[in-house]
């Protein structure tokens, strides 16, 4: 067990190292001059040179990367080009927003998607299955921003016009300050995120359940005289869970690196919004920081999913 963990953590560290080098060199060869971004159009060549020297970008790239990694290992990701503040705290401040959005959304999309998928699979070919399939198709076809705009219009703008506030238009209230306000502010983003994702999970659950319900052990469960509900939920769902957990781990990890569209639509100052701003400003240290953060989440999620596998499947133990 310890060996396994050590092995996976070592491998994860390797992934992050390769990722950091890749991003670092990618932005080095990309067009754009950070000094020009900071100093503006009217700066003289000598001013630019001075800024480059201050930023350290006049040195050879290998040296820059070495210096960056040396500091990164101590948790120092450098300073934002834009406002000269340290990168790590800037990013860390954004995490609660994204975390709230993703985890709440995940609960909601599981609560919607999984039952629809199961219903579709149980009554395959029937009207209920076709309704489920229609939901999947609609959810997958709607772009997130359209869904976001629509829910803003229907649930914020229209009620607002008729004089009451059903949901706020956006913004974020800390969970620690007021849980009710927190949930109220996140309700629309959660719904938007969940509708798209629920379609994906409904499709996945449907496919898994169709496979599992054809297994011999399901026939055994029926032959034992179990009620159909027990057959489906206890025997069927238990076996369909493993691939769902894998997908969920990957999705959550990916989103914790920033949910770009939804954060933009609802004005949430999360990691995704930060990434968009940083790219617009060519703020390299921030971009690298956000990418590395996403990488860390994915590495952690993979380890967690592997451990869950062991819990879920006695054959792996």
């Amino acid at each position: 067990m310890i060996r396994f963990l050590a092995h996976r953590i070592g491998f994860g560290a390797g992934v992050l190292l390769v990722l950091s080098a890749f991003v670092f060199f990618l932005f080095f060869v990309a067009p754009g001059d950070p000094a020009r971004m900071i100093a503006g159009d009217k700066a003289t060549e000598s001013q630019l040179a001075q800024i480059r020297k201050n930023l350290g970008v006049d040195r050879p790239i290998i040296v820059q990367y070495g210096a960056f990694m040396q500091k990164a290992l101590t948790g120092d990701l450098g300073f934002s080009y834009r406002n000269q503040q340290p990168v790590a705290p800037i990013i860390l401040r954004r995490i609660p927003v994204t975390l709230s959005l993703v985890l709440g959304g995940a609960l909601l999309w599981l609560a919607i998607g999984v039952p629809i998928g199961i219903m579709s699979a149980r009554y395959v070919g029937s009207l209920r299955d076709r309704l489920g399939q229609a939901f999947i198709l609609v959810g997958l076809s709607f772009p997130t921003f359209v869904l976001g705009m629509m829910s803003l219009y229907l649930l914020y703008f229209l009620p607002k016009q008729s004089g009451f506030t059903l949901f706020p238009a956006g913004g974020y209230k800390a969970l620690s300050s007021n849980p009710v306000l927190w949930a109220w502010h996140l309700a629309l983003p959660w719904m938007t995120l969940a509708l798209t994702m629920a379609a994906i999970y409904a499709r996945l659950t449907r496919g898994q359940m169709l496979d599992v319900m054809g297994e011999d052990y399901i026939r055994t469960a029926r032959a034992k005289g179990l009620s159909e509900r027990r057959v489906v939920w206890k025997h069927g769902m238990r076996a369909a869970l493993t691939p769902l957990v894998t997908q969920l781990g990957a999705d959550i990890a990916l989103m914790l690196g920033g949910v770009i569209v939804i954060e933009q639509v609802y004005g949430l100052q999360g990691v995704g919004a930060l990434a968009v701003q940083a790219v617009a400003n060519q703020d390299r240290p921030i971009i690298i920081g956000v990418v590395l953060l996403g990488g860390v989440f994915i590495v952690i999620a993979n380890i967690v999913v592997d451990l869950l596998y062991v819990l879920l499947d006695p054959r792996v133990r």
């Binding site: 052990y217 179990l226 133990r317």
Partner: protein, 614 residues
């Protein structure tokens, strides 16, 4: 008074291709406490019949009546049916690994039956499950309660299934091919256990199987099904001693156990019909050796004979071609010491295995194998699953390197070949695999599959290759016009012919057949065995023949090596091995395999009644 009585049972299953008439107008009645056998090949409807009766086929259209404990099971409300399942009627399925849920402990899975039917505390349920596990012969049942199915061997898993089916002491147990997935020695134990349990609890058993040898040894009554029809029905002893229906007779004739080794089998020609169409006459007529002109146009009448045997057949006297064709004892005198094609010397194979948490262990799969296969000879490798016989085959074929020891094919050491030489040697050793469904790429045409060896070794191309492939198809009895078809368009037996044609393509020195007929029905199996023998006679082929089925091995092999736990424990000429086995394990294997009773001289049975089909 019968415990289960079916009258005119019909099962239709709607599919995308049309309605499958899986069971057609089948009636039978089962005496309490008896063992009722249902025999038939795949697609005969024997499993569908019982599952439909149990309400496990929700899509099926079921007609007729099935009476059990005063109730008609057909059309019974779902809730009442659910209470019968597990409670009054237990079921045991073929593959105990896939039939047990992999994620729950066996104890919990058995206890679930109790909880579904009775109000019972967890502690009490546990005690009863442990008691039952002990009864079915699971050692230290209290500790094993919390183990998962994968921690048990195949035989132990089937014991768990039996415990699950019997724990509520149901009046009837349906065992659907309960021993097919198990090794011979384990099969015997499981059958014995079922029999003991039946006597102890007074349970009636329906045993569904394709294994006629097994049925003849345990069943009281049998029903022989073919393409959904009940062709023959009667006391097991009467039916097997003198089958009344040509199909039953044909099945017995295609069983290698009924033959002197090395003789031609008499298979049932052709293949089973599609279940989508309803034939005007007898379903078996197209394959029947004794068919009369009217058989294919008029539905056969039901004949009842003086000994109670019933057959659905136009023949008044019943099947006449009962005995196998008298073997013309061709003493296969093979040259004393043929030139060796493959020599295996002290081959060992060790795997490193590590469990998820634990440290690595080494696992000895082969522990020093010596074996020589001479030109033109067939050497059999027999043993139970896990004994290393398939692994040995892979090593001889050069697919897996041995940890130590030497494999020489045509005098050349397989271990010292460079890449080019290895490629050349690949032409000399070919494999025929067990599963004719899984071992052919479903998206490639048959012509391409058989032509692959020519392509890969750059031997023939274009029209020349096509000619060669057509010739091969003809050689193995496939229609060369089917060159452009896909594997899915062929039956199991035909697919095995495709595999054989592919193996033959490059005139290999050695063909390794890894369980080539074990996935096939008896009648088809006989066709393939005959083909292998013919090819050997005509082309002088050398076979290494792997099988768990002793009657098959005995039929085709000159010498047999018995393997156990990675060792060859006995190696002897076939007849001597069977008549005078030296090793204990060989004796166990031989005694475990059920053979059919000898055919009787045709009995003087007389026709009592004829009921014309309505």
């Amino acid at each position: 008074m019968a415990i289960l009585e079916a009258k005119g049972l019909t099962v239709d299953i709607p599919t995308e291709d049309g309605t499958v008439h899986a069971v057609r107008n089948v009636s039978f009645s089962i005496k309490p406490g008896s063992l009722f056998g249902i025999a038939g090949e795949s697609g005969s409807g024997k499993s569908v019949l019982t599952q439909a009766v149990m309400g496990l086929l929700p899509n099926a259209d079921i007609g007729g009546e099935v009476w059990f404990e005063g109730r008609n099971l057909i059309g019974l409300p779902q809730e009442e049916m659910r209470r019968l399942r597990g409670g009054r009627i237990g079921m045991i399925f073929q593959d105990p690994l896939s039939s047990l849920h992999p994620f729950y402990t066996i104890g919990a899975q058995i206890a679930e039956v109790l909880h579904a039917h009775e109000k019972i505390s967890p502690a009490e349920a546990r005690a009863r499950v442990v008691d039952m596990l002990g009864k079915v012969g699971i050692p230290s049942p209290a500790e094993r309660f919390d183990d998962y199915p994968h921690q048990f061997s195949g035989g132990m898993r089937q014991r768990v299934m039996i415990a699950m089916a019997l724990i509520l002491k149901p009046a009837l147990v349906i065992a659907d091919e309960p021993t097919t997935a198990l090794d011979v020695t384990v099969q015997a134990q499981i059958v014995a256990l079922l029999d003991t349990m039946r006597r102890e609890f007074g349970t009636t058993v329906i045993l569904i199987t394709h294994d006629l040898g097994l049925l003849s040894s345990v069943a009281d009554d049998v029903m022989v099904m073919y393409a959904g029809n009940r062709l023959e029905y009667g006391g097991a002893a009467d039916v097997f001693r003198a089958p009344a229906h040509p199909y039953t007779a044909g099945l017995l004739r295609s069983t290698p156990a009924n033959y002197r080794p090395g003789t031609e089998l008499a298979p049932i020609g052709g293949r089973p019909p599609s279940l989508l169409a309803t034939p005007a006459g007898c379903v078996f007529a197209p394959r029947c050796a004794e068919a009369l002109p009217r058989c294919s146009s008029e539905p056969p009448p039901l004949r009842r004979y003086s000994d109670g045997v019933e057959a659905l057949c136009w023949l008044e006297e019943g099947a006449s071609m009962v005995r196998p064709v008298a073997p013309a004892a061709v003493a296969a005198t093979k040259s004393a010491a043929p030139e060796p094609v493959a020599e295996v010397e002290d081959v060992r194979l060790t795997y490193q295995v590590g469990s998820f948490f634990g440290p690595k262990r080494s696992l000895d799969v082969l522990k020093g194998i010596d074996l020589t296969v001479g030109r033109g000879e067939t050497v059999g490798l027999v043993g139970e699953s896990g004994c290393g016989k398939s692994t040995l085959a892979r090593i001889v074929a050069g697919l897996v390197p041995a940890t130590s020891g030497r494999v020489r094919v045509l005098g050349r050491d397989m271990g010292t070949l460079d890449a080019r030489q290895w490629r050349e040697m690949r032409q000399q050793v070919q494999l025929v695999f067990q599963d004719p469904f899984g071992s052919l790429n479903p998206r490639r045409r048959v012509g391409a599959i058989i032509g692959d060896p020519f392509r890969l070794h750059g031997i023939a191309s274009g029209e020349e290759r096509r000619q060669k492939v057509r010739h091969l198809m003809e050689l193995v009895g496939l229609n060369p016009e089917h060159y452009n078809r896909f594997p899915a368009e062929f039956s199991g037996g035909q697919r095995q012919r495709i595999g054989i044609a592919r193996a033959l393509a490059l005139n290999p020195a050695l063909i390794i057949c890894d369980e080539p007929v074990s996935a096939l029905d008896v009648s088809i199996q006989a066709q393939v065995l005959n083909l292998l023998r013919e090819l050997q006679r005509d082309l002088g082929l050398t076979y290494l023949f792997i099988s768990h089925d002793l009657s098959v091995v005995r039929h085709v092999c000159d010498r047999i090596a018995v393997m156990q736990d990675g060792r060859i424990v006995e190696m002897e000429a076939t007849e001597r091995l069977f008549s005078d086995p030296q090793h204990d394990y060989t004796r166990t294997l031989l005694s475990a395999s059920k053979t059919l009773p000898a055919f009787a001289e045709r009995e003087r049975r007389s026709l009592v009644e004829t009921r014309v089909a309505s």
